[in-house]
Amino acid sequence: MSVQAIPGTQIKAQAASPALTAEHLKQVDRIAGLNILVAILALSIGALLGVFQGLEHARVINIYPWLQPVIKTYYQGLTLHGALNAIVWTTFFICGFFTFAFVRSLNRPLKYLWMSWLAFGVMVLGLLTAAVPMLTNQASVLYTFYPPMLADWAFYVGLTLLVVGSWIVGYSMYFTYYAWRKENPEKRAPFIALAATITMVLWQIATLGVAAEILFILLPNALAPVLGFTAPGMDPLLSRTLFWWFGHPLVYFWLLPAYVSWYAMLPAQTNGKMFSEPLARLVFWLFLLFSTPVGFHHQYADPGIPEIWKYIHMIFTFGVGFPSLITAFTVVASLEIGARARGGKGYLRWITRLNWGDPSYAAQNLAMILFIFGGIGGLINASYNVNMATHNTMWVPGHFHLTVGSATTLTFFGISYWLVPKLTGRKLFTPKLALAQAWTWFFGMLFFANAYHILGLVFSVPRRTMLGEAPYYSSQWTPQMIESVVGLAFLTISATLYFAIMLFTVLLPRKLDKPIEMPVAQPLDPTPAPKWLDTWWPWLNGAIALVILSYGPMLFQLIRDAQNWSRGIRVW
């Protein structure tokens, strides 16, 4: 191969990647740390509001009358709970964690460091812009903001900026990935870098739906009175459909960062190895393929969408469940390798030899156990007509507190137990407290989610409702309400512990004894993955094709037949 280093022409030579300097890493870590700081601050408010909701549901105490100087209603609190926990906590944590892990995994500086700073700035600007109407009760539309309910324009502008900021996080990664690929044409992309990039591309495809909803439907209506033109009106079904284009892959945006940690970091935290690294790549590619063409499974109960399309999306939904089924085997096998290396024996006794003493490990393993139940519940929700038994009942919050509230959140807690000490150079305060935090979260969610599942399935108790004030409140709910409050008590202790641990870790001057490195699990079989598992075009084009096939015809009809009969209404 001839070396052509003439400027402006393609460099065929394998130019070495620029070195990763300490100064660059410091900047990357600062970006990661600030993202995680915002995430934890958001969660502290969001979690507190969750406790108030649970107490209200069980008629223990209705705290909202006392909150009225700040929070006017239960539903304003619920909007904040959903937005801060499900959007802000997750998105900021993911962007921080990925920026950190991507650079380490690729062992290459970010191509455009300023882009990652810009991304953080835009996300914070978006958060602050959206926070104003949410905190002043101008946007109590819950985090799904279904039209024709119409919030203050600043809410939509803020959300848009937050999402665009997270896109820029992705762009910074894509440019860096592309540069690395040019410099290393023959190498396999390191797993963590590849998986993180796939997740950000998935997020890019997913958010196109909600971006279209906000830009073409909600903002024109919300801005009309401000700018003095006639509101164009809106079609609620079209809006909902665009929202759910985004709404389901959103859950994979929450879940896949946890999978990155479970596959590629957690085994290393218990002396294990990646059981089959190529299969893990396949899993991520399958998520890219199947995560978006599934949105109608959130609209099984909607009018206006023919059953056949709901049925097709049901099939794809089972398709996207499949890589999670593979994960259940492969991740457990990776951990078992570790447990046996640590002297574990027997069919199941090895489980006791996992690294349970390490809070980062324990939290994530407990998150996985809760996700077994979350995953089974998800398959039930996906099951078309079976969904009629659970749709919009308390079953659903029961379900997603096991998924995003446990699989994701408890995993992020676990990650923060090594990442925050790494970023701050301070010792974790303290491993014992952190262990207690993980276990209380586990039991809290177990009780809480179990109770809510039963309330929904057996008693048809509705979700998103200020139940304590409902005239149909029934004494038959009492056993489950008590169970949920027991769960809530555990969760309150756990959340308090978490914020205290983070606060004292960051503030107390307890320097690390020895430096912490990102845990990276080595593959059991060092043979590189086949090249087709490191190649973008079939998967990316396949994902785009599936989105077009699964959404194209129905969206074409919905747009063609759109009737802007509805005007934005404020009902709070």
Partner: protein, 201 residues
């Protein structure tokens, strides 16, 4: 799902697979991993089959695309929603036209004899609402501009609550709001004594 199974022994804790992969070879899948993948595929197929049979043979289905109606015209004389309520089509067969609005269902009380088959037509006047009739498979969203349709048979006497399950607003300190929005369907026994207990199971 392309996989090629090598019967190499590198089970948990074992040696790395001895076989080298070709650059563009198939994915190497360990034996038990391959078994599990097959089990996962089989489970998925069985689930989909069960759902399909339930939908096709037992008619347990979800709302589809039926009709649209301008929410501004619900009160027009020719609108089927101008006089919401229950209509008897034939002995034991009824249809209910229902409007969901902030913050009540119209009608909010329906009475049918036991054994009745009732078709529900639901639309929304203002924002999105939802309805689930307790202990039935009637669970649907009410969207402005759309008509949702589902049918249910009521074989057990009792009081069935139907509750709004999509957040539809609440003004601070008001006596009503989303959480007070519900109605009751009363299924009467042949001797015409209405049980006062709520059906829950």
């Amino acid at each position: 799902m392309s996989e090629h199974e090598h019967e190499t022994q590198h089970s948990t804790g074992g040696e790395p697979g001895a076989e080298a992969h070709e650059e563009n070879g198939w994915l190497h899948v360990e034996k038990w991993e391959g078994v599990w993948i097959r089990v996962a595929v089989a489970m998925t197929v069985v689930f989909i089959a069960a759902i399909t049979v339930a939908a096709m043979s037992f008619g347990i289905t979800v709302p589809g695309a039926t009709a649209r109606i301008n929410p501004m015209t619900l009160n027009d004389p020719e609108s089927p929603f101008a006089n919401p309520g229950i209509r008897e089509l034939a002995p034991g067969k009824y249809e209910v036209y229902m409007v969901a609005q902030t913050w009540n269902f119209v009608p909010d009380r329906i009475e049918v004899p036991v054994g009745s088959e009732v078709t529900f037509y639901l639309t929304a006047r203002d924002v999105i609402h939802g309805i689930k009739i307790a202990n039935t498979n009637v669970n649907m969203m009410a969207l402005p501009g759309q008509v949702s349709v589902l049918r249910a048979k009521f074989d057990k006497p009792g009081v069935y609550n139907y509750i709004c399950h999509e957040y539809c607003g609440y003004v601070a300190n008001a006596p009503i709001g989303h959480h007070t929005m519900y109605g009751q369907l009363i299924v009467t026994a042949p001797d015409n004594t209405t049980e006062t207990v709520q059906v829950t199971q």
